[in-house]
């Protein structure tokens, strides 16, 4: 849940009266652009990406123009720009025209919860505007502060003094930066970053900090961000349909965290526990379809709903349905396994049988009852399975699941299972594991 850029940044900063660069939308008229140029001298044309997208400048995705013709040309270039960051691909949908702010000083500011201090922490540099990671440590200062009293002026002033910042920027920043704490703390943010804030002289010649770029992340466990009245679809592109559907079941009772790891995978792991999720995702690698954590003792109904969603999206292409976790502490194995079994029966009833192999590795309360009830369901559905107790190491069970997957994928296992289930060869879905998509 991230936002980058001034299109939304301007709106959020206005909640706390933090000065912003002038921003025009893509549909602004030539006259409006000309007026902005008259006021600011030049304009930055920036593509609008949903979610947190960094390094746009480095990738040549920011235009800097000084006439309307070039502004419109850059608009055409950047409106549907594509941007790749690591494994992720982003598509722009729109641009902003942001008036340049002439300034002698460019400031970098961020607030985040820093695990070294276990407190909200302000990081600041008066050498901002560039890739802050490239700055030397002597140009960057950071300090935790008391969340009960908030970000006070003296924290800011101490840090700037430590950096030997020029006196003329200290007072305006001390006056304005505490506003960011209000936005950060009261609207459910986990990070806010302005880079650069340009220190623009006002009519009296006094410097005023003007935010020229914006980035923030929201804490998905804090509903306060909803008070910002952001459009419902602002974060939707960050999630696949599957993730979004599961997320709708997100409550504090039981985990329902999922992440698509390879939409061409062939082992779908229903994982219980955060640790197990890490281990399973790591060891399955590219054959896994999703990373999941359904631990935390989900009630039957929730587990059945989650299972239905998982099956709906992934069973068709999967060879192995992998149910895996360590020795549960409080997750009721009977309830969760009953739910997964019932959802599987529903799926078969609706979609017809699928040639899958079920591998289970689990421990915890009501273990044997849980294994037994799932086994019965699988017997009824004619689904072959192996169930391992918690005295088999999780990694050997994962290896077994991968071996079964390989047998099904490459050695005719899938066809063999399909035959015993009465499935016609033409109805067998083919999954081809590949690198993460």
């Amino acid at each position: 849940m991230q936002i980058t850029g001034m299109y939304w940044g301007e709106k959020l900063l206005k909640y706390v009266d933090f000065p912003c660069a002038e921003v025009l939308k893509a549909d602004s008229s030539s006259d409006e652009l000309r007026a902005l140029l008259d006021r600011c001298g030049s304009i930055f044309v920036k593509p609008i990406f949903k979610g947190g997208v960094g390094k746009k400048g480095k990738s040549g995705l920011i235009g800097h123009v000084n006439n309307v013709h070039d502004a419109l040309k850059e608009k055409e270039r950047l409106y549907f720009a594509k941007h790749e960051v690591g494994n992720q691909k982003f598509n722009s949908n729109g641009v902003t025209f942001e008036g340049s702010v002439p300034a002698k000083y460019e400031i970098y500011v961020s607030i985040t919860d820093d695990t070294r201090f276990r407190a909200p922490t302000l990081t600041i540099s008066h050498h901002g505007g560039v890739d802050i990671e490239a700055q030397g440590s002597d140009k960057l200062a950071s300090a935790p502060f008391d969340p009960l009293t908030g970000l006070n002026g003296f924290v800011i002033s101490n840090l700037l003094n430590k950096l030997n910042a020029p006196n003329e920027i200290i007072s305006p920043l001390v006056q304005n930066l505490p506003k960011l704490w209000d936005l950060f703390h009261n609207y459910g943010m986990s990070m806010i970053e302005l880079n650069p804030i340009r220190m623009m002289p006002n009519k009296k010649g006094r410097l005023v900090p003007v935010a020229c770029d914006f980035k923030c992340s929201f804490d998905q466990d804090d509903p306060s961000w909803k008070r910002l009245n952001l459009p419902a679809d602002l974060f939707t592109t960050e999630l696949s349909n599957f993730e979004r559907e599961v997320n709708e079941l997100r409550t504090y009772q039981g985990q329902s965290d999922v992440f698509v790891t390879n939409n061409k995978g062939s082992v779908t792991a229903m994982t219980f526990g955060g640790g197990a999720s890490s281990l399973v995702t790591e060891l399955l690698g590219d054959v896994g379809t999703i990373s999941s954590d359904f631990g935390g003792n989900p009630p039957y109904e929730k587990m059945r709903k989650i299972s239905s969603i998982v099956y709906k999206y992934w069973l068709e292409q999967s060879n192995v349905l992998f149910i895996i976790g360590g020795k549960a502490n409080n997750t009721d194995i009977y309830e969760t396994f009953r739910a997964m079994g019932d959802a599987l029966r529903d799926y078969f009833n609706t979609h017809g049988p699928k040639p899958i192999f079920v591998v289970v590795g689990r421990g915890g309360p009501n273990l044997v009852r849980g294994l037994g009830t799932l086994g019965e369901t699988l017997d009824n559905l004619k689904v072959p399975y192996r169930m391992f107790g918690y005295d088999s190491s999780m990694s050997t069970v994962i290896d077994y699941a991968k071996d079964i997957d390989n047998w099904m994928e490459n050695e005719g296992g899938k066809e063999s299972i399909a035959k015993t289930m009465g499935i016609q060869p033409e109805n067998i879905a083919v999954s081809k594991p590949s690198k993460c998509a």
Binding site: L140, G274, E282, N329, K382, V397
Partner: protein, 931 residues
Amino acid sequence: MSSVKEALPKLLENNSERNNSVPQGIAAFKDSYVGINSLAELATSEDRVCVLNILGGESRTVTPISHVYSGGNIVCGTMPGRSGSVMKTKIGDIPVYNNISEALEAGHKFNVAVVYVPPAGVKDSVIEAVRINPDLNKIVILTEKISLHSSRIIRQFCQLRGIDVFGGNCLGLGDALNHVRIGGALGGNAPEESMVPGSIAIYSNSGNFTTTIATYLQTAGWGTSVSFSSGKDIYIHFAAEEFTNAFHNDERSKAAIMYIEPGGYYERDLEFEKPVVCCIVGRWKSNMTGACGHAGAIAGAGDNAIEKEKWFMKKFGVKSIFTPDNPECTKKGALVTNIAHIPEAMSAVMKKNSVEPDFEPKGDLSLKCWLASSNDVGLPKELDVQPEEAIAPYNEQIENLSKQIGAVLPRQAMKDTSGASMMDPKTQVSRLNGTSVLDCSTRTFEENLVMALTREYPDSNGRELANVVLNAFVNQNGTPQLAAAQAAREAENSPNTVLSSSLAILGPKSALPARKAVDAFVELFGYAKIKDVSNESFDVSSQLSKAQKDELDKIFLSEKESPRAKQMEKALKSRNVKSIFISFLQELAKKTGTFVNEDSLLAAASCHLAWMPLMKKGLTLTTLRNIPWHLQIYSAMIGCSVESSEQTKEAFRGVDNQELMDSWSFTETAYLAQIGQRPKANELLDFSILLGLVSTNGPGTITAQGAKGAVSADGSEVSERVQINKAYVGFLTHAGYAHGGNGYEAMEFLINQFRKTNLDNPDNAKHNLDLEAMAMDYAKEYKIYKTDAKAKGNLSYAKIPCVNHPVFKGEDVNYDPREVFVKDLFAEKKSYNIFLEFYHELVNALYKTGVSRNVYCVNIDAVIATILLKMLWRPFMEGSFSEKALETAAFSVFLYARMIGSAAEIEDHINRGRNMDTRTAASKCKFVGQI
């Protein structure tokens, strides 16, 4: 942002802005408050606990176990609005109050608050607990998904008030040596299993892995001193730094395990004074853009898994990750990335420190299968791992599981719902017990009848057995059900009404003796582990003795010889049927000098057919007990559809009873019942295809609804009371002239087209008829009729039956895939059907003449009509079959076929349904106004 952190200098030395007001805890921590100096102080027998939200879903199961395990350390709990309640535990009740103030006023003293409050209330609960209870020094927060906003406040508030906080999203603290568990469920409902006393302290970001690692350690002979689940939120209040200091000061803990995930800098600056094995899992997480599972396990470039591995390798002085193949470690420790390697790594590190394990290793971590089913999929040997005895106490539980005979299905409302049949809305192909009706159509009638009940097709031996039994009971001569049928028939009722009258008489009493015999078989053979019911060499001596001892022989045997039983035994012999149950009966009869009776033979056949699915838990015991009744009904349905004048004591439609049992298939008998003669091979094929195709149309079809409604009304939750014969009556009364009887419409249409052609053999492809011309003539004629009707404003003009389909339409040339399947099957079997060929010419002619805008499909109903007409054409043209008889036959064959689907539906509903679950709520019923 994390890169920025990396670029930052270490600048917390002068963190004076925050820490001026923090009280001084133990000396080791100058800038923050920490009260715990040793792990021995983490969870002690002196700690007294108040659980907040004690009666909530999670606490309700966890807290009583913690209380009992710790010898009663929980003094009270809170739950708004539940003051005066108690939480029951094995060692006494725990009182519940509305809030902490009330609890304190009631005189309770406690130093630990365990928080199970939902996330939105955690911050306020913590503040309240700290504010009003001066004795409080520990808070354990179990709640997941606490917002960062709350965590920030909790951290600072508790720091200022001198409280140690554990969590959030942790599973609490356990001390195996002190035998205390506080907050959370470490070790689940059996803490002793994993918290075995020893010398290793566990610190784990994962609650589940805290327990799992403790269990794994035992395989190398290591027990635990302390198990601490830290949680893995962004804020870990009692974190690695605090744990390490306390670990150093705990004499009982000789070494530690640290399970660490990516994200956060909690471990970077740790310095160890005792051996540590660290497990870091989550390299892959660097690909993730959001947390999955633990909220804090999302990392940047500086705190990802690889960076953390480097931190610990430096601390331990190792250059690589410890694995069984590369056991690199030092006296200081080892780094692993797989929790399964922890025990071995710990032993290797401790060996370098000359420390022996705490006890003899318990078990190992190799692959141990507890439950398995291969379903004959031909697994390669290396993957075909077989179940082995599980560790105690699970071995006994699994043993008990295997003692349960048959499946037990959860009950649910089954209105419009079925576990027996379904129709694929895309292909319109229905499935029965997982088998598509297209595949059913390649099976014989008797095979489908058995499959409907047992959910599996019988092998050839089982099929022969079924033929003997079904034919044995088909002749209804002298029975009240035949008399009732005849009376109904003479009153000119439709075939379904006739059969309803007869089946109403086959009540529970008629099935009782066979059901008792089934029960006796289950008692004798339930745990005999029969692998092949046809293997007569199976040793039944113990069952024979038990049967005699328990006087079960009286159920199976009769003093007098029953003629029908005698004929059945003879037929079984002549068909060379092998069955453990039959041979057991014969052996028993021989031993006791009595005779096997027909009910026990019926029961034996039922057991034979259903035994293996039952043992595989693919069938319920209830269904097995019902099968004899179903078999009797199957026979009666066929028998009672034949005039009483056609049945004598010795013969059925002229065929000797013994001959039927000896050599007729039940499909042939059903054909005989309708057509009056034994079918030829091609006729038998057509008939079987027809019966299979029509067997079901999913749970929404009216016949299925009738059967299900009848079961529901009896109340399936007391399955013993469900009248199965009445369920069939439900199916039958829900057929009628519009549903089942309408097949005749298409036949009538075809008769009109072919009546004057002198066609004598519809099976002969060399018929010399110009089907194309016939079709064109009719299409032209129909076009005139249709145009005329439309011109007159008559929109309900007669439609041509069996062409077009609401789903299979819209293409230039349309096909009903079911019809295509059957047509291909006919082609494969070299079976010709002139009527079906005519239909294909007709849809083309309709297009060519402009009646249709594209080529309609020939739908599945055409297949049914053309097969029926092909079977009946000759007797009809010869005059031995009237049009009325033709209609009756078409209707009856539909009923025979649908009996297959209804049987499956009835059993499914009995086993899964709830009482009266097919009713419709009044709110969903509509009133359309009075006349």
